[in-house]
């Protein structure tokens, strides 16, 4: 039997990954604070007056929550984690470490540049920054640099992979590296929309070079990026679920081929479906909305493959550990490993996220839930559960690995993952129900004049769920901080010190070579984007009308 190939990251590689995580965790710690503040406000308990003059409004807090948690925590964690999966998967150092350093520090400069106007209450435009709500120009510059920095890090991975390919012709790209590369290539294509929005419209407008913007066209640009952004967050979690979790559960990946097919389909289908966020927009024809609805349905398919392959890998592991009967393998999984419990619970929450997602995508059904609390509820099951809880789980082995320290408390960590699960079930269920009843999203409902009595119980449940999530989030932060600066070197017996690289049941080399060829998939991806977006982009850009002067809120 093959032994897991061992490869140790160098000290400088470890510290490079670590500093990504440090920024990610600090962003999470600050951004998370404002989540529960909103949830408490729903029950009429408003803590914002206590925060003055540091935080001057609910929306300044909500902007911080969205930007720091959904954009900064994720991007820094992902670029750090994928640096590791590139190096460890390929068993070679980065081709141009300086390039990745430049990418990282570009992101840091961008973060600072965007954070200053937010903290000065000059960019309280939420993380979707829909014009003509206007922000200080440095907010747009900052976001641009964060994206450009992440591009540069992605180029670094691609150059490294090309070098590896020269050294290893005919070898299948290791799955963890492969998934990371797909993520970054998809991200390059996807971010073109928001790049054009910011560079051609928002920055010239914020600088006063043009008098106004075209808000409808801006929405189309934004959602070109906005939905694949979700897959940019999700695919690194899938990398862990496919290429690591089976090993952590004591088994192997059930199907290497299908894992790769799923990743290819995500490359192909992540981008050309953004109009499903614009189903009720006035400026997009219903026919194009319908086409994007169908394309959105098709991207459900690779996630369903993922569900089967990952669960089957877990079932195989659970049976090897003595599980019997239909479901007896589930309790046999190593639930006492916080990294495993985090990812299993994240997966369960993601079932509900998937159900909400297919509902959102269902064309006219979107009329029922568009811009309601349902959407925020859905979003917390996807990015704040499938993604964030998985990232927490990854952190529970990754931080000890990088720092050479023992996790401060495994027991706390397991409890933390369950609290997140329970808190999120309560919170997200209440939000979904509120949305069906008509409650708007991102609105301080505690002060809204139109709240029917029947909402109050659900509003209270969002507060309770939010409180549990807050406790869980800071248990995570505390555990990681204690581990990070711990004096206990090296992990103890039974603690994970190696990177959990899963083998597959049928060795990757038996996977057809076609599934390692980029060219046809890239051509297909670009072609599909052109078909799905080309005519509407030509139409909307051709009719551009920069007549909205805008307001800084």
């Amino acid at each position: 039997m093959l032994t897991t190939p061992t490869y140790e990251l160098t000290k400088s590689e470890k510290s490079f990954v670590s500093i990504h995580l440090l920024f990610a965790f600090v962003a999470l710690a600050i951004g998370t604070l404002f989540g529960p503040l909103q949830a408490f406000e729903f029950s009429g308990v408003d803590f914002y007056p206590l925060l003055e003059p540091v935080i001057q409004s609910y929306y300044q807090g909500l902007t911080l929550h969205g930007v720091l948690n959904a954009l900064i925590f994720t991007t820094f964690f992902i670029t750090g984690f994928l640096t590791l999966t590139t190096i460890y998967g390929l068993k070679r150092p980065l081709k141009y470490p300086l390039l990745n350093q430049i990418g990282f520090w570009t992101m840091v400069v961008g973060l600072v540049m965007a954070a200053v106007p937010i903290l000065l209450n000059q960019a309280s435009v939420l993380y979707t920054f829909y014009p003509p709500l206007k922000a200080n120009v440095f907010f747009y510059f900052g976001l641009t640099l964060v994206v450009v920095g992440s591009w540069i890090e992605g180029y670094g991975f691609i150059f490294t992979w090309r070098e590896w390919r020269k050294e290893n012709p005919g070898v299948r790209t290791p799955l963890m590296t492969f998934g990371g590369l797909i993520t970054m290539v998809m991200w390059q294509l996807a971010t073109l929309g928001v790049a054009v929005e910011i560079l051609t419209m928002l920055i010239p407008w914020a600088l006063g070079w043009i008098d106004g913007v075209d808000p409808q066209l801006a929405r189309t640009y934004f959602w070109f990026t906005g939905h694949p952004l979700v897959y940019f967050w999700l695919l690194p979690a899938y990398v862990s679920w496919y290429a690591m979790l089976p090993k952590q559960a004591g088994g192997k990946l059930f199907s290497d081929s299908l894992a790769r097919i799923a990743f290819w389909l995500f490359l192909l289908l992540s981008v050309p479906l953004g109009f499903h966020h614009q189903f009720v927009d006035p400026g997009v024809p219903a026919g194009w909305k319908y086409i994007h609805a169908v394309l959105t349905y098709s991207v459900f398919f690779p996630s369903m493959i993922t569900a089967f392959t990952v669960i089957a890998s877990l079932e195989r592991a659970g049976r090897a550990r003595g599980g019997k009967g239909w479901l007896g393998w589930i309790p046999k999984l190593p639930w006492n490993d916080p990294s495993v419990s985090a990812q299993l619970l994240a997966g369960i929450l993601f079932f509900f996220g998937g159900i909400g997602g297919i509902t959102n995508a269902s064309y006219n059904i979107n009329l029922v839930i568009h811009n309601t609390a349902w959407v925020s509820g859905h979003f917390h099951l996807t990015v704040a559960s499938a993604v964030a809880l998985s990232f927490m789980g990854i952190s529970y082995w990754l931080v000890p690995y990088l720092r050479g320290k023992r996790l401060w408390s495994r027991k706390w960590a397991v409890i933390q993952t369950w609290l997140w699960f329970v808190g999120m079930l309560i919170f997200s269920n209440a939000m979904h129900v509120l949305g069906l009843l008509g409650a708007p999203r991102r609105t301080p409902l505690g002060e809204a004049p139109y709240i029917p009595e029947e909402w109050s119980g659900h509003l209270l449940r969002t507060s309770i769920g939010g409180a549990i999530l807050m406790v869980s989030a800071y248990m995570f932060i505390y555990n990681i901080a204690r581990t990070w600066w711990s004096k206990k070197l090296n992990a103890g017996p039974g603690e994970l010190v190696e990177i959990p690289a899963a083998e597959s049941v049928h060795p990757a080399q038996q996977t057809p070579a076609k599934l390692d060829w980029w060219t046809p998939w890239l051509i297909g991806t670009v072609a599909l984007i052109l078909v799905a977006y080309g005519p509407q982009l030509i139409e909307q850009i051709g009719n551009i009308d920069l007549s909205s002067p805008g307001v800084m809120p």
């Binding site: 006035p282 400026g283 089957a312 409902l445 057809p512």
Partner: protein
């Protein structure tokens, strides 16, 4: 490095388990069923989403002599209505409207400043309101009662206060 020696001629296969193959088939069937249900509702039963109506200049649309300069109800001889609504930070104009039960109402909503949302509670009227565009949907009110229309898109500090009420009389 204990990497397997690559054998370029190694036998390759997709190795798709029969259970998983059936699962993929089931997924496709499920998606086709959902898509069919949505398509029938949309294109046969009349549960449609907005489509482009008209481009306007948000700086001038509410002044001059267009319908948005004098927003409100327009009644037709057949008993149906057109209802023009102007959204701005932080109110709808008009914010109180009364129509007769059984009447068909076509909503035309635009914004003169930033984006807003227009959601008429307990109905399927739910539209993004974008400056420079007119959002339009038509519904028939069978049940007498009051329906709030609320702003569902963040539009500034007093967004939570932005709403109006439509009353359906017998």
């Amino acid at each position: 490095m204990s990497e397997e020696t690559p054998e370029v001629s190694a036998e390759t296969s997709l190795h798709i388990d029969p259970y998983e193959r059936n699962w993929m088939r089931l997924t496709v069937v499920l998606l086709v069923v959902f898509a069919t249900a949505v398509t029938i509702a949309g294109f046969a039963l009349g549960f449609q989403v907005p489509s482009p109506e008209e481009r306007v200049d948000p700086r001038t649309v509410a002044i001059g002599d267009g319908p948005f300069a004098d927003p409100g109800l327009r009644e037709y001889p057949d008993g149906s209505y057109d209802l023009y609504i102007v959204s701005q930070m932080f109110s709808f104009s008009p914010n109180e409207v009364t129509v007769r039960a059984g009447s068909e109402v076509t909503f035309y909503v635009t914004s003169i400043d930033v984006q807003h949302g227009f959601k008429l509670q307990n109905t399927n009227v739910n539209m993004q309101i974008v400056p420079g565009q007119v959002s339009k949907l038509t519904v028939t009110f069978d049940e007498p009662g009051t329906y709030d229309y609320i702003c569902t898109e963040y539009c500034g500090s007093a967004h939570a206060q932005m709403y109006g009420t439509l009353t359906v009389e017998k």
